[in-house]
């Protein structure tokens, strides 16, 4: 219960941050990715702001034995680079550049009643599904 309320609150703060920074504005995103054209560097400052807070915050939080509402931290454990990481990130980058949305802003933009965002979210889930079919067939 406490977990759920905190997840809701964290989601709201995240959505406010995406909106204020205009990550939810696909024109802004494409302007940021348009390095060779009329480049708008604004969104680099989103990353700077978020990284400043998390870099120091993580150091403090991860010194704890456990989080407040849970017995354990759930952290990524892979360390090695592999082909999937590179290929997947390249495919994601192409999709981001075509659409102007990454996953968080696509969801937050649903709150702006954006038709584009709805198409985006449905297509992301189609991509998840296709990946699962692909992995079931070709991995192992």
């Amino acid at each position: 219960m406490k977990n759920n309320m905190m997840a809701l609150l964290a989601g709201i703060v995240f959505g406010l941050g995406l909106s204020l920074s205009q990550m939810t504005n696909p024109n802004k995103v494409l302007g940021f990715l348009d390095v060779t054209g009329n480049w708008d560097a604004s969104l680099a400052f989103v990353m700077i702001g978020a990284l400043l807070v998390t870099f120091f915050g993580f150091k403090t939080i991860l010194k704890r034995e456990a989080p407040i509402n849970e017995p354990n931290f759930h952290l990524a454990n892979k360390q090695q680079l592999d082909k999937s990481l590179l290929l997947g990130s390249a495919i994601f980058g192409i999709g981001w550049g075509l659409s102007g949305y990454c996953p968080g802003p696509a969801v937050a933009a649903l709150g702006l009643f954006s038709g584009e965002a709805l198409v985006m979210v449905i297509s992301i889930y189609a991509g998840f599904w296709a990946n699962k079919v692909f992995m079931d067939k070709f991995s192992k």
Binding site: G15, L33, D34, M47, A50, G88, G97, L110, G111, A130
Partner: protein, 143 residues
């Protein structure tokens, strides 16, 4: 750079950072959005409820912001919806294969100086830039 908005971008970024810290400090979870979206369908009941509420929160955050500051920016018009659909599909497929997106690799992983996340972030930024070069300058989409 007539649309340069470094301050709102920076403060928006710090809010995103605060959200990530809240979810880690209280729930022990990393706020990687593509992982949360995927987990909504693939995890059990308890895993589903916090993920669902986080995503509802994201939508409410967007809605609340629009109520507080209406028309903060102009919505995009006349962009080919097929490109959005194709882009979304690739975003879904790619973030699963690459284990993360802008939030998971670009912020959570980079803040821990994870080699995987730094390489992933450079890769999707590069391919994002390359794609926009192709659509905007070679094909003239969205002009």
């Amino acid at each position: 750079m007539e649309n340069f908005t470094p301050f709102s971008a920076f403060f928006g970024g710090t809010l995103i950072g605060v959200s990530i810290l809240l979810l880690l400090l209280f729930n022990g979870r990393m706020a990687g959005i593509s992982g949360i979206m995927n987990g909504l369908l693939t995890s059990g009941n308890t895993g589903r409820s916090w993920r669902g509420l986080f995503l509802v929160g994201l939508i409410l955050g967007g809605l609340l912001f629009e109520m507080l500051i209406p028309d903060f920016y102009l919505p995009r018009q006349n962009y080919p919806i097929l490109l959005v659909a194709l882009g979304g599909f690739l975003v879904g497929f790619g973030t699963r294969l690459g284990s993360g997106c802008t939030s998971g690799h670009g912020i959570c992983g980079m803040a821990q100086l994870s080699k995987r996340s730094i390489v992933a972030t450079l890769t999707f930024m590069f391919f994002g830039g390359l794609t926009v070069y192709g659509t905007l300058h070679l094909l003239g989409v969205g002009q």
